[in-house]
């Protein structure tokens, strides 16, 4: 096992990895920008190196500075956390070339999964369902209709060159598709200077369900069940849970097997997550793979009673993972809420600033991961995540009740947070029932503020 590792990240995830190091008797090196000198990850690491100015490009994305920090501290491996350099194949390569282990998959696996078209091609090859649609741009209305008929309506037309909703059209019939095709193409050209559009099956009320998987260098690949991350705001996950309230054991098994198949196909090592879209009939479709630790990994840890960062370190060091090959039994339910420094009453605008008072929730079934403390200055340079609260219950209702209680005990003063908003979300009838889609928030109204 490594004697010392460097954590190329900040905030709660840096603290998370430092804690795993402490738990495994590995020395930890924090790196930080000048804005994070007073951070807990700097405080609780065994060593700390300032690597640059506050802008991420100058510090947490500054590969030479991070490698130099590893060299001057004699760190044997680098954990990238999530975000920043965690899915940067080049960084993984630089680490390797500098004889520093990258705690993550191989550069090839990162690159392969980073190329969405390549990844989809692989899925088709190994029989993992992808969202049906054209393989590339669609030439004209006729081809569009032909594809639409083969995959079934409704379909969505998307601009090949763009995003953000422009050039997007939903069609339910041949007729509407023909006109939509032309409009979308014209809009795409106007917006992105590229009239090319492609077609995919449209899911109006999908769920976002992902499978956690782990592979080690000895060929063992396991999946650790799903996390349901359907509650999102503009593609930012807000609530994650495991098990999913809508998955049947049969679908769980199928999805898990698909994840293992993917892992084996790319000889995947370390932790990865396969994101699937699940429709109302329980059919699932590969969306993408995240080749890193997820923000919401604690949900899986809590429901299975395991330590994913520990597994990451074991795997990166070439050891066997410490989990059995068979899927672990689900022994309850876990829910995570992300607590962000943002104002739910003003379009979730970020709210950096100094924390004036703090009370963290505690007691049975509550885990808190946070880098904030009373007096901490939340810097404006980074994302707004302040804390993750994970609650456990023997059944989903107990986990929800504990989340509602824990968020009620969670007091942060001095800056605005989404805590009261999240509390209403988990307390809502819709969430409790468990039946909703990624459009949950469109229908959700903050009742009592």
């Amino acid at each position: 096992m490594f004697r010392k590792i460097l954590i190329a990240n900040r905030g709660e995830i840096a603290l998370r990895v430092i804690r795993a190091c402490a738990d495994m008797d590995i020395r930890s090196v924090a790196v930080h920008s000048t804005a994070d000198t007073d951070s807990l990850h700097v405080r609780f690491a065994d060593e700390a190196v300032c690597i640059g100015s506050p802008l991420p490009a100058k510090s947490y994305l500054n590969i030479p500075a991070i490698i130099s920090a590893a060299e001057v501290t004699d760190a044997e491996a680098i954990h990238p956390g999530y975000g920043f350099l965690s899915e940067n194949a080049h960084f993984a390569e630089v680490c390797e070339s500098c004889n520093v282990a990258f705690i993550g998959p191989s550069p090839d696996a990162i690159r392969m999964m980073g190329d969405k078209i390549e990844a989809k091609r692989l899925m088709r090859k190994i029989g993992v369902p992808v969202i049906p649609g054209s393989e590339g741009p669609v030439v004209d209305e006729k081809e569009a209709v032909k594809i639409a008929r083969s995959i079934g309506y409704p379909v969505i037309i998307k601009a090949a060159g763009g995003g953000g909703g422009r050039g997007m059209r939903i069609a339910h019939t041949d007729v509407s598709l023909s006109s939509a095709f032309l409009t979308a193409s014209a809009e795409a050209e106007a917006a992105f200077g590229n009239p090319e559009v492609y077609i995919e099956k449209y899911f109006s009320e999908p769920r976002h369900v992902e499978i956690q998987m782990l592979g080690d260098k000895h060929g063992q690949v396991v999946h650790l069940n799903e996390r349901d991350c359907t509650i999102q705001r503009r593609h930012q996950k807000l609530v994650e849970e495991s098990p999913s309230p809508v998955l049947t054991p049969a679908i769980r098994k199928e999805m898990g097997e698909a994840a293992v198949r993917i892992g084996k196909a790319v000889k995947y090592t370390n932790a990865g997550t396969i994101e699937f879209l699940v429709d109302r009939d329980g059919k699932f479709y590969f969306m993408e793979m995240n080749t890193r630790l997820q923000v919401e990994h604690g949900v899986t840890e809590t429901v299975l009673g395991i330590d994913l960062v520990r597994e990451q370190l074991l795997i990166a060091a070439g050891e066997h993972m410490s989990l059995p090959a068979e899927p672990l039994g689900i022994r309850g339910a876990a829910i995570e809420c992300r607590v962000n420094a943002e104002d739910p009453l003003h379009n979730f605008a970020p709210c950096p600033g100094r924390i004036q008072a703090l009370h963290l929730p505690g007691g049975p079934g509550v885990r808190v991961d946070t880098h904030i403390y009373d007096g901490y200055m939340v810097p404006p340079y980074y994302d707004s995540l302040l804390a993750k609260v994970v609650t456990f219950g023997h059944e989903r209702n107990e986990a929800i009740a504990r989340m509602y209680r824990a968020l009620g005990e969670f007091v942060i003063e001095g800056i605005k947070t989404n805590i009261p908003f999240m509390r209403e979300v988990v307390n809502s009838e819709t969430f409790r029932r468990g039946v909703y889609s990624t459009r949950f928030l469109e229908h959700f109204r903050l009742t009592e503020v």
């Binding site: 008072a357 703090l358 005990e409 003063e413 001095g414 800056i415 805590i419 009261p420």
Partner: protein, 198 residues
């Protein structure tokens, strides 16, 4: 005794302690005095101020509280009360039991619960129970505001564990205020009457 609608909507509108201006508080207090008000509520987007004079702690509302009942939001009342002249007609009551437990570390220490600031001597409840002003539902009250009472005279009953306990005046004087309504629960040390010494 405080009854809370919801024990934890914590931290919704997060305004720092800095937002609290004791100068404004004092001016509000003077305004109350001049206008002879006993209660003053102000509610704005980010702030909610409630001032009450001579109210019983039963009401439970912290005298000054941000919208959320976060513990750190409570305002230490003792110093403010202390700044009011002792002879003033009223002053700020302390945080009721439960409403506002935790004075923020940044604020002046207030060791132990702040004493209720009443204008003169008071009669407090020696026990937890239900307060009755009269010996029976059809009887007149033992005492009313303005009554002059003798030492040892029964002022009220407090029912605790099915027993009626007579609460007697420890000294002679005039009842200037009855602070609890008939049939309401009272807790230990809760002020029942204000009594002007004879």
């Amino acid at each position: 005794m405080s009854r809370k609608a919801d024990s934890g909507t914590g931290g919704l509108t997060a305004s720092g302690m800095q937002g609290i201006d004791l100068g404004i508080m004092r001016r509000l207090l003077k305004f109350m005095r001049d206008a002879q008000l006993t209660e003053l509520d102000i509610e704005m987007e980010h702030v909610k101020v409630r001032l009450r004079k001579g109210t019983s702690p039963e009401a439970g509302a912290a005298p000054v509280a941000m919208p959320a009942m976060a513990p750190m939001l409570s305002v230490p009342v003792a110093p403010v009360a202390g700044s009011v002249p002792a002879g003033a007609a009223g002053s700020l009551p302390p945080a009721g039991g439960g409403g506002a437990p935790a004075p923020a570390a940044a604020v002046a220490p207030a060791a132990g619960p702040a004493p209720v600031a009443h204008a003169g001597p008071v009669v407090k409840s020696p026990m937890v129970g239900t307060f009755y002003r009269a010996p029976s539902p059809t009887s007149p009250p033992f005492v009313n505001t303005g009554d002059v009472v003798k030492e040892g005279q029964t002022l009220c009953l407090i029912e605790a564990m099915k027993l009626m306990n007579e609460i007697k005046a420890e000294r002679a004087g005039k009842i200037t205020k009855v602070l609890v309504e008939n049939g309401h629960p009272v807790e230990f040390d809760q002020v029942l009457f204000e009594l002007e010494p004879a």
